[in-house]
């Protein structure tokens, strides 16, 4: 087992331990009972998802600045990880909402803007899938990544004015101290998992790029020279 295998193992052990800690130390909630335990994944997943999208923004700006392929690939990895975590956040919220609010979905500000966030980044990932030429793909997705991130606060404000009924968001300071440490530890554990996903996704992206380059060279090697000259390659 290499270093990356060890980190993988540690991240998952940390998650399991943090979950167990949350379950053991916190009493059932007065109103929600054990349903409250969903918070230990729902809230950390949302935190990490936002962090991922922040990484997309920073790496997109950096790509346009330095034109280094690695920035583009990190942005792509962060977007994918962020999208998965956002989907997880929404699903868990929905499972929690059904017994608490009585509905699977409510048109509340935070819920709705998170869903919009998910489709914005799904668009970003679709663009990456549909653009073939690596350098163009990198430029385009950087531009789209920047505008998408700028829209996050605007979407949030607009939906908030539109309507709101979400309970005050859970942070350690709004919680009974008996729940706070469970939330903090799970926040860190989910963050470790998110970073792990990003690192693995980034490695795969690097390998994919290398494979693309090899394929390009091989394809060019079979072309007769005069065609190459004509095409100014």
């Amino acid at each position: 087992m290499g270093i990356s295998g060890l980190i993988t193992l540690l991240a998952f052990v940390a998650l399991a331990a943090a979950q167990a800690f949350g379950f053991v130390t916190s009493p059932p909630d007065r109103d929600m009972g054990d349903l409250q335990k969903i918070m230990y994944v729902h809230v950390p997943a949302a935190w990490s998802a936002f962090l991922c999208f922040f990484v997309v923004f920073v790496e997109s700006v950096r790509y346009l600045w330095r034109r280094d392929e690695r920035d583009d690939l990190i942005a792509a990895s962060a977007a994918e990880t962020g999208a998965v975590l956002t989907a997880l956040t929404l699903m868990l919220g929905s499972i929690w909402g059904r017994p608490t609010w009585g509905v699977w979905w409510a048109w509340d500000a935070r819920l709705t803007s998170t869903a919009v966030l998910l489709v914005i980044y799904a668009g970003y990932l679709a663009l990456r899938a549909f653009a073939d030429e690596p350098e163009r793909r990198a430029q385009w997705s950087a531009a789209v990544g920047i505008l998408g991130a700028l829209n996050v606060p605007v979407v949030y404000m607009s939906v908030k004015w539109w309507r709101t009924l979400h309970q005050l968001q859970s942070t350690p300071s709004t919680l009974d101290p008996r729940y706070a440490w469970g939330l903090r530890l799970n926040g860190l554990a989910v963050l470790a998992i998110a970073i792990l996903f990003m690192v693995h996704r980034y490695k795969i992206a690097r390998l994919e790029r290398r494979a693309e380059r090899v394929a390009e060279e091989e394809a060019l090697a079979y072309l007769p020279m005069d065609i190459l000259e004509e095409a100014h390659v």
Binding site: G123, I146, V154, W162
Partner: protein, 226 residues
């Protein structure tokens, strides 16, 4: 600066002239907008009160869904004969290309609205004349934000494999604030705006337009280049 603006005007003029000579695209988009108004009427009607209540949202959905078709075309005409390559070879900044295309698309979509919106007023029993000036303001601001992002994303989407599906996929989620603000402001204004809500939505539209016009100008080079 003056040279750049002259260049933007040239791009806008060229686009509008090619459109005016055939009017094919304009007529098709206008027809789609009208068709959507009718379809929404069938889906929501025929209760006059229900129609009036949903008119604000319906008008804006019809504008967004039909307008989306206009933007790809704006770059498609450049791609057909490799004209874009030539356009990009000209020395100097590239933002005039964006501003020119933006202006042409703005004229295009506003032209569609000039016919479709009064028609929506008739079909959905909305008294548009009640607040004509502020409504025009909402229409201008909302359309500007819509067209800014549409022109920007079409620069990217029109050169990918799946441009027809990719543009709405990229564009429509970004337009959620425009849709909310414009639809709510339109609804508030046509029902007398008793709560004074329209001002807040106006502010949101102005903020949206400023943020995304500036951002699009700054990163347009990356969107068109490569």
């Amino acid at each position: 600066m003056r040279r750049e603006l002259a260049r933007a005007r040239a791009v806008a003029w060229k686009d509008l002239r090619t459109e005016r000579r055939t009017m094919a695209n304009f007529n098709a988009v206008l027809f789609l907008a009208v068709l959507m108004l009718l379809l929404f009427g069938f889906a929501l009607g025929p209760d006059a009160a229900a129609l009036r209540e949903s008119a604000g949202g319906v008008i804006w959905l019809a504008i967004l869904f039909s307008g989306v078709l206009a933007f790809n075309r704006s770059y498609q005409v450049e791609l057909d004969d490799n004209a874009l390559e030539v356009l990009l070879l000209y020395p100097g900044a590239r933002w005039p290309i964006f501003v020119g295309k933006l202006a042409a698309n703005l004229a295009f979509v506003l032209g569609v609205e000039l016919i479709a919106v009064p028609l929506a007023g008739i079909l959905f029993h909305v008294a548009l004349t009640r607040a004509l000036l502020p409504l025009t303001g909402v229409l201008l601001l909302g359309t500007f934000g819509f067209v800014t992002l549409g022109t920007f994303y079409a620069a990217v989407a029109s050169r990918t494999r799946a441009r027809e599906i990719l543009l709405p996929l990229l564009l429509l989620p970004m337009l959620v604030p425009v849709l909310i603000a414009a639809a709510k402001a339109t609804a508030a204004l046509t029902s007398g705006d008793v709560m004074g809500d329209a001002t807040a939505w106006f502010r949101l539209l102005i903020a949206f337009d400023l943020i995304f016009f500036t951002a699009a100008m700054l990163v347009f080079d990356a969107a068109i280049g490569g």
